[in-house]
């Protein structure tokens, strides 16, 4: 009779066999029993509150993320120069568009961080502080975009930009020229 390797006897479920053989466990092997006996003492299963705290933390990170990108964007703007070309225009458009896109999809973006207590995760009232900061940061990006526009001369700030819309009426006195 050839010996049969009974791997299944190693399974903790086959208690009878293990006990009967009484083999020491191989080095580094820890039975599930040992580990499971520790855990319930120190760490119970994560509660809802702790999840919420983590979510809030993550929401704060998300809210400030546009501000964190600013240095990089500023560098890109610096690199793209002040000329009106396809590259600089692309960056400027991105800078001007993303804040609006972000703000309009803000409720969706923050839904994943909604605390468990909230009834509607997509409501504007969930995470109000984070959202406010998020909007502020996006406005910062927008401000950088506008500043860039201004330095490129694309903002109608001078009187010259509105000159074409000025009108004049007929003169009150007429001179007959010969």
């Amino acid at each position: 009779m050839s010996p049969i390797l009974e791997y299944s006897s190693l399974e903790p479920s086959n208690q009878t066999i293990v006990r009967s053989v009484k083999l020491p466990p191989p080095p580094g092997f820890t039975g599930t029993k040992a580990s499971s006996s520790k855990a319930p003492v120190k760490k119970t299963a994560p509660t809802k509150q702790s999840y919420d705290a983590i979510k809030a933390q993550r929401a704060w990170d998300f809210a400030t993320s546009p501000a964190k990108q600013l240095p990089m964007q500023a560098f890109m703007l610096y690199m793209s120069g002040s000329g009106v070309q396809i590259f600089s225009m692309g960056i400027v458009f991105m800078l001007l568009m993303t804040p609006f896109k972000n703000v309009f999809s803000m409720n969706d973006a923050f839904a994943q961080f909604a605390p468990s207590t909230s009834k509607n995760s997509k409501s504007i009232s969930t995470l109000p502080l984070q959202k406010l900061v998020y909007i502020a940061c996006n406005l910062l990006t927008l401000g950088v975009g506008l500043w860039k526009c201004r330095s490129m001369g694309l903002l109608p700030t001078g009187t010259g930009d509105w000159l074409a819309f000025e009108t004049r009426g007929p003169p009150p006195e007429v001179v007959l020229h010969y």
């Binding site: 001369g153 700030t157 010259g160 000159l163 074409a164 004049r168 003169p171 006195e173 007429v174 007959l176």
Partner: protein
């Protein structure tokens, strides 16, 4: 290296694109050289045939101060010489190969020309122009004769001096002054014979005229003998004539005294006595017909009869050789020669039976009568004629008419015609032509369904043809280009404009009372009308156009209409103001005053002179003629125009030049009073410093649309333009202080908005200025500055001034709709810069475009006979003092340089000699980028300019074939690859 060469090549292209291409010459421009209306009142300036080898020329001196030679065959100008304005031609004296002239007061300058080519051979002043005597008539006291054996010239100048000049070098050989230098005696003629040079003078005392004859030695100029011959001739100029008999080389003087002719044969010691010829007792005076070399002249009898007189070669006898019958209307005489040099005398008269001019030619032993093919309706009356007789005994007649036309007849048919009154054109307006109607709508509203169906089916048979044509045109057809000729194919004579509106009608009025409609595309005269004399038809008179207004344009939906305000002065010097109202496309009368269509008559709006006339612009244009009593008279005068006038009446004001009590010119502003018969009353007058006088006034150059109210700077702030529409430019002279002034006045209130003074150049103020929008450009000669010497920088200056509202950036006062009475109305900032200008100019004008968006160039007519444009870039008064900053560069400003570069590539007139230009008129075309420039005065020249290049049309080298081929190839590629792609997609679906 090759990059660099490409760069230079590109530069070369970009520069040449600014200049006038040689291929454009004669396509975008045209040039009509003119000579002016011949001065026919003296035989020394009137047209005459001159024989050069075996061909003939017509030589004449003209009122425009031009000596010209015309081709006999076609009337073209063979050569001409334009004299300076202050140097009037006294006479021309042809010899075999040269022609000599005396010009300037008293014959100040003698010139000789090669008669065949017009090449100036010799030019020499006899005295300075200021020392010249001003005599009446002007040609008195100047005479010239050629030496019989050499080319030397003898002249009488300034009525007292005889000079012999070397014919090749012009050096003075001798000079002799008349002993009566201070007295009233004047020398009128010089005759040259081998023995002596005779100077013939005249002295009038009471009713008697004493002839003074001086015989001078031809070699030394010493007086050999002098003698006074008393005669009873009334007039020394027309009554006495003298000549050298060619066969005997004897000088003969002839005159009429107490009904009979007298002759005096001159010898060097003046021993001979006047011979009285018996048998003729009714001779009033003698007329020189230019045949004195042949001893023939015309004797005018007391009873009005005329005889041809022949003086015998010995000079002792005179025989009448022909008696003319008595005619009273339009009688003129002339002399001419045939090929062999035999003399002929001709007479024209007006035949009331035939309503034609009849020409009688006497000579060669026979009398011939012809009916001259002269159109009196078109060309007025014959003022002068000259003729030659060809081999078949037929005369060729060259006529100068009262309307300034120079015409050649054969003699019954017109051979050629030159409208020389165009050289006196002083008014010109561009008139747009209507658009061509491509498809005429034949449908009328009463047409039934079936009728329409049938018509459309019938029309549909043309559809395939139309489609083929369309495709052909689309693939191969060329589009109108901005540099193509503007002459469209003629379609049964109707006038319509070309695609870009380059074809317009230029209506010009001349001082000879003739109005022309000129095609702006080629310079041909489309129609011409003589302004009718109206009630002065029986007494005679002149009609002088004063003002011309376009009162209806094609945008009003009718044919364009032009109103001409003219002054009629009849033979009794009675003045009336006449209004002519014509259709600008045909010249047809619109007043209804013409009884026959061939005569153009006007309406007498005033039976006196007028002070001024104005155009009241608005939806309905009204002409206001101001009578001497300052009452307005309207044309057209109906209820509608009365209402328009009454509505505007309170707003209107106008400046008039008047004389003050001490005889100075001044400017007085007027407004219209109220009531049914309003009279204008003065509101302000311009107070000038002591001794300063008004020289002239000129309105803004253009009233085109203003595209922008301000000038935007590089940092996007704005300088608001000072656009006061009431500005009038006024020039003043103050002789006591030697200054010339320029004022910009607000003509409603009389406020001086801008004022400048420059030093007069030797007492003469010749400032040229032009104001457009807020931009004033003026030109003058600077010989000295206010603080003394200009140290070698004497020369022409051009100053460019721009007026802006307020006192800084972004300040606006709304000047264009502001009242004159508002305090801010004179709050302005003037930017000005002065430049050295390379040329003397006669006039300048800015370009005008349809919407006023294109930048404005200034066009100058220079005194070296060129029309040249100078770009706005150089004339910008805000050119920077240092290197321009980025913002200034963005605005297009360049560094100030005192000298305006004289770029020969900016000469618009090619190599034409565009002489004597007095005015430049610019007009917009349909293309915004392009402006039409018409220069006139003596010559006429028209061209187009695009100051900012033709940005609104496809460039010349746009490759349409390439575009069509590319599109075709792409379409073919799509057709070819579409099934392939579809198959591939289908296959892909199997593998998904």
């Amino acid at each position: 290296m090759w990059l660099l060469s490409w760069f230079w090549l590109l530069c070369a292209f970009s520069i040449s694109s600014l200049a006038l291409h040689e291929t454009d010459v004669g396509v975008v421009d045209w040039y009509k050289p003119l000579i002016g209306v011949p001065m026919w009142d003296s035989t020394f300036t009137a047209p005459a045939f001159a024989k050069i080898g075996n061909r003939d020329l017509i030589i004449t001196a003209t009122g425009s101060n031009v000596l010209a030679a015309l081709s006999v065959e076609d009337g073209s100008v063979v050569w001409r010489y334009v004299f300076e304005r202050e140097e009037k031609i006294m006479g021309y004296y042809p010899q075999d190969k040269v022609i000599a002239t005396l010009s300037g007061p008293g014959g100040a300058i003698v010139r000789t020309f090669d008669i065949a080519t017009g090449e100036l051979l010799l030019e020499r002043p006899l005295h300075s122009i200021r020392e010249g005597l001003l005599l009446e008539p002007a040609f008195l006291g100047a005479s010239l004769a050629f030496d019989s054996s050499s080319e030397d010239i003898f002249t009488v100048s300034n009525a007292h001096t005889v000079t012999r000049l070397d014919g090749t070098t012009g050096a003075e050989i001798w000079k002799w002054n008349s002993p009566h230098h201070a007295s009233k005696a004047i020398l009128i003629k010089v005759l040259s014979t081998p023995e002596a040079v005779y100077a013939i003078g005249a002295q009038t005392s009471l009713s008697k005229l004493t002839l003074q004859i001086f015989a001078l030695s031809p070699t030394t100029g010493e007086l050999i003998e002098s003698r006074d011959v008393s005669s009873k001739v009334a007039d020394a100029i027309s009554g006495v004539f003298s000549y050298v008999e060619p066969a005997s080389n004897q000088a003969i003087v002839a005159w009429a005294e107490e009904g009979s002719p007298r002759t005096l044969i001159l010898d060097s010691h003046l021993q001979n006595k006047p011979t009285s010829i018996e048998g003729i007792t009714t001779l009033a005076y003698l007329i020189d017909l230019g045949l004195s070399n042949h001893g023939q002249f015309l004797g005018q009898a007391f009873d009005g009869g005329s005889q041809i007189m022949q003086i015998s070669p010995s000079g002792t006898n005179i025989v009448p050789i022909h008696d003319f019958d008595v005619r009273t209307l339009g009688v003129f005489f002339g002399g001419g020669l045939d090929r062999a040099g035999q003399p002929y005398i001709a007479r024209t008269y007006w035949s009331t039976e035939l309503n034609k001019v009849i020409l009688d030619v006497i000579g060669g032993g026979e009398k011939q009568e012809f009916t001259l093919g002269f159109e009196t309706n078109e060309d007025g009356i014959v003022d002068h004629f000259t003729f030659r007789v060809s081999d078949d005994k037929k005369p060729q007649v060259v006529v100068t008419s009262s309307t300034g036309a120079v015409q050649a007849f054969s003699p019954t048919d017109l051979q050629w015609s030159r409208q020389e009154s165009l050289a006196t054109a002083h008014l010109a307006e561009f008139v747009e032509l209507p658009e061509r109607i491509v498809t005429e709508s034949t449908a009328d509203k009463s047409e039934g369904f079936f009728a329409r169906l049938i018509r459309q089916v019938v029309q549909a048979q043309n559809l395939p043809q139309y489609l083929i044509n369309f495709i052909r045109r689309f693939v191969t057809g060329s589009y109108a280009s901005a540099t193509s000729s503007a002459v469209p194919q003629s379609q049964n004579g109707t006038l319509y404009r070309d695609a870009f509106g380059f074809r317009q009608i230029i209506v010009t009025a001349t001082t000879y009372g003739k109005v022309f409609g000129i095609d702006s595309s080629n310079g041909n005269v489309l129609w011409s009308r003589s302004l009718g004399l109206g009630s002065a038809i029986n007494v005679g008179g002149v009609v002088t156009p004063k003002k011309m207004y376009v009162i209806k344009t094609v945008s009003d939906g009718t044919d364009p209409e032009v109103v001409i305000i003219a002054e009629r002065r009849n033979a009794y010097r009675m003045v009336a103001t006449v209004v002519f109202h014509i259709n600008a496309l045909s010249g047809a009368d619109l007043t209804g005053a013409s009884t026959k269509p061939e005569f153009l008559e006007g309406i007498d709006i005033l039976d006196r002179g007028s002070i001024e006339s104005y155009l009241l612009e608005g939806e309905k244009k009204v002409v206001i003629v101001l009578s001497e009593s300052l009452q307005p008279h309207l044309y057209p005068d109906n209820a509608e125009t009365q209402e328009v006038f009454q509505k505007a009446q309170a707003q209107l004001s106008f400046p008039i030049r008047t004389l003050t009590d001490d005889g100075n010119q001044q400017i007085v502003g007027h407004k219209f009073g109220t009531g049914d018969r309003p009279v204008a009353y003065p509101t302000w007058s311009l107070t000038l410093p002591d001794g300063e006088q008004v020289q002239r006034m000129s309105p803004p150059a253009t009233k085109g649309p203003i595209a922008s109210l301000g000038k935007v700077l590089g940092n996007r702030t704005t300088l608001y333009k000072y656009l006061n529409p009431r500005l009038v430019t006024t020039f003043t002279v103050s002789p006591t202080r030697g200054l010339c002034g320029l004022y910009l006045l607000d003509a409603t209130k009389g406020t001086v908005v801008y004022h400048t003074e420059v030093k007069a150049h030797s007492g003469v103020c010749d400032m040229q200025a032009s104001l457009t929008e807020n931009w004033l450009v003026y030109h003058y000669y600077e010989g000295e500055a206010f603080d003394g010497d200009v140290k070698g920088t004497k020369g022409y200056r051009l100053v460019t001034v721009e007026l802006y509202e307020g006192h800084g950036l972004d300040e606006k006062t709304r000047s264009s709709d502001m009242s004159s009475y508002v305090k801010d109305s004179t709050e302005i900032t003037a930017y000005e810069q002065s430049y050295i200008f390379p040329h003397a100019i006669t006039t300048l004008a800015p370009t005008t475009t349809k919407f006023g968006i294109t930048s404005k160039d200034f066009i100058f007519a220079t005194k070296n006979n060129k029309i040249q444009s100078f770009p706005r870039r150089y004339l910008n008064p805000r050119r920077t003092r240092g290197k321009p900053t980025a913002e200034e560069q963005e605005e297009g400003l360049i560094v100030y340089d005192p000298l305006i570069p004289d770029d020969p590539k900016r000469v618009l007139s090619h190599d034409y000699q565009v002489a004597g230009i007095k005015r430049i008129v610019t007009a917009p075309a349909v293309l915004e980028s392009t402006s039409m420039v018409f220069a006139f005065g003596l010559d006429m020249f028209l061209t187009r300019v695009a100051p900012s290049s033709t940005f609104d049309v496809l460039s010349e080298n746009f490759n349409k074939a390439q575009l069509v081929i590319t599109i075709g190839a792409l379409a073919a590629a799509i057709l070819f690859t579409k099934p392939m792609v579809q198959r591939k997609r289908l296959r892909e679906k199997w593998y998904q």
